[in-house]
Protein backbone atom coordinates (compact mmCIF):
# COMPACT_ATOMS: atom_id res chain seq x y z
CA UNK A 1 0.00 0.00 0.00
CA UNK A 2 1.30 3.45 -0.89
CA UNK A 3 1.63 6.38 1.48
CA UNK A 4 -1.18 8.96 1.11
CA UNK A 5 1.46 11.68 0.94
CA UNK A 6 2.51 10.29 -2.43
CA UNK A 7 -0.93 11.14 -3.78
CA UNK A 8 -0.64 14.64 -2.34
CA UNK A 9 2.69 15.15 -4.06
CA UNK A 10 1.31 13.95 -7.40
CA UNK A 11 -1.74 16.20 -7.03
CA UNK A 12 0.47 19.16 -6.15
CA UNK A 13 2.56 18.62 -9.27
CA UNK A 14 -0.54 18.16 -11.46
CA UNK A 15 -1.88 21.49 -10.18
CA UNK A 16 1.38 23.35 -10.78
CA UNK A 17 1.48 25.86 -13.65
CA UNK A 18 2.60 24.43 -16.98
CA UNK A 19 5.07 27.22 -17.63
CA UNK A 20 8.23 25.19 -17.57
CA UNK A 21 9.27 22.14 -19.54
CA UNK A 22 11.98 19.56 -19.23
CA UNK A 23 13.83 17.57 -21.82
CA UNK A 24 12.93 14.11 -20.70
CA UNK A 25 14.91 10.94 -20.99
CA UNK A 26 11.61 9.07 -21.36
CA UNK A 27 11.93 6.75 -24.32
CA UNK A 28 8.98 6.37 -26.67
CA UNK A 29 8.73 3.52 -29.14
CA UNK A 30 9.71 5.02 -32.51
CA UNK A 31 6.65 3.69 -34.29
CA UNK A 32 4.34 5.12 -31.63
CA UNK A 33 5.95 8.52 -31.93
CA UNK A 34 5.61 8.39 -35.70
CA UNK A 35 1.95 7.42 -35.39
CA UNK A 36 1.40 10.35 -33.03
CA UNK A 37 3.12 12.75 -35.44
CA UNK A 38 0.93 11.53 -38.30
CA UNK A 39 -2.22 11.87 -36.18
CA UNK A 40 -1.28 15.42 -35.23
CA UNK A 41 -0.50 16.40 -38.82
CA UNK A 42 -3.41 14.71 -40.58
CA UNK A 43 -6.16 14.09 -37.99
CA UNK A 44 -5.78 17.28 -35.97
CA UNK A 45 -5.89 15.42 -32.66
CA UNK A 46 -3.66 18.02 -30.98
CA UNK A 47 -1.52 21.01 -31.83
CA UNK A 48 1.70 19.02 -31.45
CA UNK A 49 2.94 15.59 -30.47
CA UNK A 50 4.21 17.11 -27.24
CA UNK A 51 0.71 18.41 -26.42
CA UNK A 52 -0.83 15.07 -27.36
CA UNK A 53 1.62 13.16 -25.19
CA UNK A 54 1.39 15.45 -22.18
CA UNK A 55 -2.42 15.69 -22.22
CA UNK A 56 -2.76 11.91 -22.46
CA UNK A 57 -0.26 11.50 -19.62
CA UNK A 58 -2.07 14.10 -17.50
CA UNK A 59 -5.42 12.42 -18.06
CA UNK A 60 -4.03 9.01 -17.15
CA UNK A 61 -2.42 10.39 -13.99
CA UNK A 62 -5.58 12.21 -12.91
CA UNK A 63 -7.63 9.06 -13.33
CA UNK A 64 -5.08 6.98 -11.43
CA UNK A 65 -4.97 9.52 -8.58
CA UNK A 66 -8.77 9.65 -8.28
CA UNK A 67 -8.97 5.88 -8.32
CA UNK A 68 -6.21 5.47 -5.74
CA UNK A 69 -7.68 8.18 -3.50
CA UNK A 70 -11.09 6.56 -3.51
CA UNK A 71 -9.62 3.12 -2.81
CA UNK A 72 -7.65 4.56 0.09
CA UNK A 73 -10.79 6.24 1.39
CA UNK A 74 -12.86 3.06 1.17
CA UNK A 75 -10.19 1.10 3.03
CA UNK A 76 -10.49 3.59 5.86
CA UNK A 77 -14.27 3.84 5.61
CA UNK A 78 -15.57 0.51 4.27
CA UNK A 79 -19.21 1.48 4.73
CA UNK A 80 -18.70 4.34 2.25
CA UNK A 81 -17.86 1.99 -0.63
CA UNK A 82 -20.77 1.99 -3.10
CA UNK A 83 -21.91 -1.24 -4.67
CA UNK A 84 -21.61 -1.81 -8.42
CA UNK A 85 -25.36 -1.27 -8.70
CA UNK A 86 -25.08 2.07 -6.88
CA UNK A 87 -22.32 3.23 -9.23
CA UNK A 88 -24.37 2.13 -12.23
CA UNK A 89 -27.34 4.03 -10.81
CA UNK A 90 -25.16 7.14 -10.42
CA UNK A 91 -24.07 6.83 -14.06
CA UNK A 92 -27.67 6.40 -15.18
CA UNK A 93 -28.79 9.61 -13.49
CA UNK A 94 -25.73 11.49 -14.78
CA UNK A 95 -26.64 10.28 -18.28
CA UNK A 96 -30.31 11.23 -17.71
CA UNK A 97 -31.01 7.69 -18.83
CA UNK A 98 -34.53 6.22 -18.49
CA UNK A 99 -32.83 3.40 -16.61
CA UNK A 100 -32.43 5.78 -13.70
CA UNK A 101 -36.10 5.18 -12.95
CA UNK A 102 -35.54 1.40 -12.86
CA UNK A 103 -33.43 0.78 -9.78
CA UNK A 104 -34.82 -2.75 -9.62
CA UNK A 105 -33.61 -3.49 -13.14
CA UNK A 106 -30.15 -2.05 -12.47
CA UNK A 107 -29.75 -4.02 -9.24
CA UNK A 108 -30.76 -7.22 -11.00
CA UNK A 109 -28.45 -6.50 -13.93
CA UNK A 110 -25.53 -5.83 -11.59
CA UNK A 111 -26.04 -9.17 -9.88
CA UNK A 112 -26.40 -11.04 -13.18
CA UNK A 113 -23.51 -9.44 -15.03
CA UNK A 114 -21.05 -9.89 -12.15
CA UNK A 115 -21.99 -13.56 -11.89
CA UNK A 116 -20.79 -14.02 -15.48
CA UNK A 117 -18.14 -11.29 -15.69
CA UNK A 118 -16.53 -10.60 -12.29
CA UNK A 119 -14.58 -7.61 -13.67
CA UNK A 120 -17.64 -5.89 -15.12
CA UNK A 121 -17.94 -2.16 -14.56
CA UNK A 122 -20.92 0.15 -14.17
CA UNK A 123 -21.28 0.73 -17.91
CA UNK A 124 -21.45 -3.04 -18.42
CA UNK A 125 -24.31 -3.10 -15.92
CA UNK A 126 -26.19 -0.38 -17.80
CA UNK A 127 -25.68 -2.15 -21.12
CA UNK A 128 -26.89 -5.41 -19.61
CA UNK A 129 -29.94 -3.70 -18.08
CA UNK A 130 -30.77 -2.00 -21.36
CA UNK A 131 -30.50 -5.31 -23.22
CA UNK A 132 -32.76 -7.01 -20.68
CA UNK A 133 -35.26 -4.19 -21.02
CA UNK A 134 -35.21 -4.43 -24.82
CA UNK A 135 -35.82 -8.18 -24.70
CA UNK A 136 -38.92 -7.77 -22.56
CA UNK A 137 -40.32 -4.77 -24.45
Amino acid sequence: MFEPEVLDRIIERLAAPDDSTVNTSMRLPAALREAAALAVEHLGVASSTTTLTSSALRSALETAVMDAALELHFKRHPSARPSLAEVAMALAVQDASPLAARRDLIERAAAEVVARHPDADADDVLLWAEAQQAMTA
Binding site: D8, H77, A80, D123
Partner: protein
Protein backbone atom coordinates in the same frame (compact mmCIF):
# COMPACT_ATOMS: atom_id res chain seq x y z
CA UNK B 1 -16.92 16.18 -22.49
CA UNK B 2 -18.84 16.17 -19.23
CA UNK B 3 -18.45 18.42 -16.21
CA UNK B 4 -19.91 17.42 -12.86
CA UNK B 5 -20.52 20.43 -10.62
CA UNK B 6 -20.97 19.98 -6.87
CA UNK B 7 -23.21 22.28 -4.85
CA UNK B 8 -22.99 22.96 -1.13
CA UNK B 9 -24.62 19.79 0.15
CA UNK B 10 -22.77 17.64 -2.39
CA UNK B 11 -19.52 19.06 -1.02
CA UNK B 12 -20.56 18.45 2.57
CA UNK B 13 -21.42 14.87 1.61
CA UNK B 14 -17.78 14.28 0.69
CA UNK B 15 -17.09 13.90 4.42
CA UNK B 16 -17.68 10.36 5.70
CA UNK B 17 -19.94 11.34 8.60
CA UNK B 18 -22.52 12.85 6.23
CA UNK B 19 -25.65 10.77 5.71
CA UNK B 20 -25.35 11.08 1.91
CA UNK B 21 -21.65 10.27 1.76
CA UNK B 22 -22.14 6.92 0.08
CA UNK B 23 -24.28 8.54 -2.62
CA UNK B 24 -21.64 11.13 -3.45
CA UNK B 25 -18.98 8.43 -3.38
CA UNK B 26 -20.97 6.52 -6.01
CA UNK B 27 -20.90 9.58 -8.26
CA UNK B 28 -17.15 10.01 -7.84
CA UNK B 29 -16.54 6.33 -8.59
CA UNK B 30 -18.76 6.77 -11.65
CA UNK B 31 -16.48 9.58 -12.84
CA UNK B 32 -13.46 7.30 -12.54
CA UNK B 33 -15.32 4.48 -14.31
CA UNK B 34 -16.07 6.69 -17.30
CA UNK B 35 -12.55 8.12 -17.40
CA UNK B 36 -11.17 4.58 -17.48
CA UNK B 37 -13.21 4.10 -20.63
CA UNK B 38 -11.59 7.17 -22.15
CA UNK B 39 -14.39 9.67 -21.54
CA UNK B 40 -13.47 13.27 -20.78
CA UNK B 41 -15.20 13.75 -17.41
CA UNK B 42 -14.18 16.02 -14.57
CA UNK B 43 -15.65 17.11 -11.26
CA UNK B 44 -15.51 20.76 -10.22
CA UNK B 45 -16.52 22.87 -7.25
CA UNK B 46 -17.22 26.58 -7.64
CA UNK B 47 -15.00 28.30 -5.08
CA UNK B 48 -17.96 30.17 -3.59
CA UNK B 49 -19.58 26.82 -2.88
CA UNK B 50 -16.38 25.73 -1.20
CA UNK B 51 -16.54 28.83 1.03
CA UNK B 52 -20.18 28.19 1.91
CA UNK B 53 -19.47 24.54 2.70
CA UNK B 54 -16.41 25.40 4.80
CA UNK B 55 -13.97 23.41 2.67
CA UNK B 56 -10.52 24.87 3.31
CA UNK B 57 -8.09 22.88 1.19
CA UNK B 58 -5.22 23.62 3.57
CA UNK B 59 -7.05 22.08 6.52
CA UNK B 60 -5.81 18.62 7.59
CA UNK B 61 -9.46 17.55 7.80
CA UNK B 62 -9.80 18.17 4.06
CA UNK B 63 -6.93 15.96 2.91
CA UNK B 64 -9.16 13.10 1.78
CA UNK B 65 -11.48 15.46 -0.17
CA UNK B 66 -8.52 17.16 -1.85
CA UNK B 67 -7.40 13.79 -3.19
CA UNK B 68 -10.71 13.17 -4.99
CA UNK B 69 -9.67 15.60 -7.76
CA UNK B 70 -12.70 17.86 -7.48
CA UNK B 71 -11.03 20.94 -8.91
CA UNK B 72 -11.80 24.58 -8.22
CA UNK B 73 -13.87 26.69 -10.60
CA UNK B 74 -12.77 30.16 -9.46
CA UNK B 75 -14.92 33.27 -9.20
CA UNK B 76 -12.97 35.38 -11.66
CA UNK B 77 -14.15 38.72 -12.97
CA UNK B 78 -16.23 37.39 -15.87
CA UNK B 79 -17.85 34.70 -13.73
CA UNK B 80 -18.62 37.24 -11.00
CA UNK B 81 -20.38 39.47 -13.52
CA UNK B 82 -22.53 36.59 -14.76
CA UNK B 83 -23.23 35.42 -11.20
CA UNK B 84 -24.28 38.95 -10.25
CA UNK B 85 -26.77 38.98 -13.13
CA UNK B 86 -28.10 35.59 -12.02
CA UNK B 87 -28.61 36.83 -8.44
CA UNK B 88 -30.50 39.85 -9.73
CA UNK B 89 -32.54 37.80 -12.22
CA UNK B 90 -33.60 34.80 -10.14
CA UNK B 91 -32.72 35.70 -6.56
CA UNK B 92 -30.70 32.62 -5.68
CA UNK B 93 -27.81 32.54 -3.19
CA UNK B 94 -24.35 33.69 -4.21
CA UNK B 95 -23.08 30.11 -4.22
CA UNK B 96 -25.98 28.90 -6.38
CA UNK B 97 -25.42 31.84 -8.74
CA UNK B 98 -21.78 30.81 -9.03
CA UNK B 99 -22.92 27.25 -9.84
CA UNK B 100 -25.17 28.69 -12.54
CA UNK B 101 -22.43 30.90 -13.95
CA UNK B 102 -19.98 27.98 -14.10
CA UNK B 103 -22.61 25.82 -15.80
CA UNK B 104 -23.34 28.54 -18.37
CA UNK B 105 -19.65 29.02 -19.15
CA UNK B 106 -18.97 25.32 -19.54
CA UNK B 107 -18.75 23.67 -22.95
CA UNK B 108 -20.26 20.22 -23.21
CA UNK B 109 -22.57 18.30 -20.90
CA UNK B 110 -23.11 19.64 -17.42
CA UNK B 111 -24.36 17.60 -14.48
CA UNK B 112 -25.01 19.31 -11.15
CA UNK B 113 -25.13 17.27 -7.95
CA UNK B 114 -27.44 19.34 -5.78
CA UNK B 115 -29.97 19.38 -2.98
CA UNK B 116 -32.01 21.99 -4.87
CA UNK B 117 -32.49 21.10 -8.55
CA UNK B 118 -35.08 23.82 -9.12
CA UNK B 119 -32.77 26.65 -8.06
CA UNK B 120 -29.91 25.20 -10.10
CA UNK B 121 -32.08 24.94 -13.20
CA UNK B 122 -33.18 28.57 -12.81
CA UNK B 123 -29.64 29.78 -12.17
CA UNK B 124 -28.20 27.86 -15.13
CA UNK B 125 -30.82 28.85 -17.72
CA UNK B 126 -30.66 28.90 -20.69
CA UNK B 127 -27.89 26.31 -20.42
CA UNK B 128 -29.45 22.86 -20.32
CA UNK B 129 -28.08 20.97 -17.33
CA UNK B 130 -28.82 17.60 -15.81
CA UNK B 131 -29.58 18.06 -12.14
CA UNK B 132 -29.12 15.12 -9.82
CA UNK B 133 -30.70 15.39 -6.39
CA UNK B 134 -28.48 13.99 -3.69
Amino acid sequence: MRTIILDNEAVQAMWPDHRKHRAIAAHLVAVVARRRRGADVKAVVPTTVRVEAGWNRTSPQASHANRFRVVDAPLDSATANDAADIVRRVGVSVADAHVGAVARATTGDVVVLTSDPADVQRASAPKAVVTVRI
